[in-house]
Symmetry: C2
């Protein structure tokens, strides 16, 4: 079996998403750091792996893939017998429920949480001023999303079903950054969402990603 290579930066939420999945599946891989500060993600060599010049990029022998959520989907299917079961096997209907919650992360949770992480975590880190208008707007949007999650999480332990799937996993990187900011209150004020956050951030696979962040 070809060795998996994941190219990326441990600071990037998309890289973290792919890394978490690979750790959950307990497959061997080689991490190739991409020095974004030095512009390596825009080099000709890297663009042959990801034509959008973004991290991460995935290689398994001759097979190449980019887009973090396509990478997690592939790894979860290809290594279905290894590590954590991250899919919802069964009928097309149960698979569709997982797909729906993955789409909710991508189109409802991610836009608001990414903007908040940028304003409240990355900008202060980079010495840039936070735009309070953008924060207010996106806190209001994220609050509405989390209201839906709060209701959903009274019906099932995780978003798609009663066990942890890709739909939950995809949330981890942005949640992690927001927990270190005042936006943490949006999770804390919702008991089911808060318990879900505590549960998924405690996973050993996620701790391994955090350990890479600290290196």
């Amino acid at each position: 079996m070809a060795v998996i290579k994941l190219h990326g930066s441990p600071l990037s939420t998309a890289t973290q998403r792919a890394l978490t999945c690979i750790y959950e599946k307990e497959v061997e891989f080689h991490f190739v750091p991409v020095n974004m500060g030095a512009g390596e993600h825009k080099s000709e060599n890297y663009l042959s792996l990801n034509p959008f010049g973004q991290v991460p990029a995935f290689e398994e022998g001759d097979f190449k893939l980019f887009e973090s959520r396509a990478i997690t989907q592939y790894v979860a299917h290809e290594y279905t017998d290894k590590g954590t079961q991250l899919l919802l096997p069964g009928s097309n209907k149960s698979k569709a429920v997982l797909e729906m919650w993955k789409e909710v992360e991508a189109h409802q949770f991610d836009p608001a949480s990414s903007k908040l992480a940028w304003e409240l975590a990355f900008k202060p880190f980079l010495g840039m001023a936070t735009d309070t208008g953008v924060v207010e707007e996106n806190e209001a949007k994220l609050a509405k999303v989390l209201d839906v999650y709060e209701t959903r999480l009274t019906q099932s332990k995780y978003l798609a079903c009663d066990y942890f799937t890709l739909a939950d996993l995809h949330h981890l990187p942005n949640i992690h950054y927001l927990l270190g900011t005042p936006a943490k209150k949006l999770f804390d004020s919702r008991p089911h969402a808060s318990a879900w956050v505590a549960d998924i951030t405690a996973r050993p696979a996620w701790s391994k990603v955090l350990a890479m962040l600290k290196q």
Copy 2:
């Protein structure tokens, strides 16, 4: 078999995406118009179908689904033997390639093209002023995305492979709105992207969606 109901508005790109898929699969369905001008999408009844108060929402008997791309995925899998084959069957690797191009649509094409459609098509229609700064920024972003498509479309006739799949279908609504604006030049100036646009916009299923728009 339970009758499919699709709730939505023919003006909405997300509704159009789901409609196109259902027409391609040639499955019978009942379209339920949601009067967004009257706020029907925020009514208690509608929120039980889509808790985010957005269109479309899908019903098949007791089974309910929202998020347009989750609906197309379900319909393509559930009705695999009907109408157009919109998936890429085969190995996990070939499926992953389709997933990757679906992710590209969702995370690269859609953000820039949706902002341009809003500024160049919807705002003038609503009598609102176009923000030229937003237009310039997003035309530059979309140009970079279409450069990648141009290269990809020299390698295969459609984005994921040599036949039309969900990855192509998901682009139709935003492409349609942009073709009626000055952003059309971004497609026209790229021969392979332009041929692809001509091909996918000529599909009978898309014509049926356009006919609903004109009603």
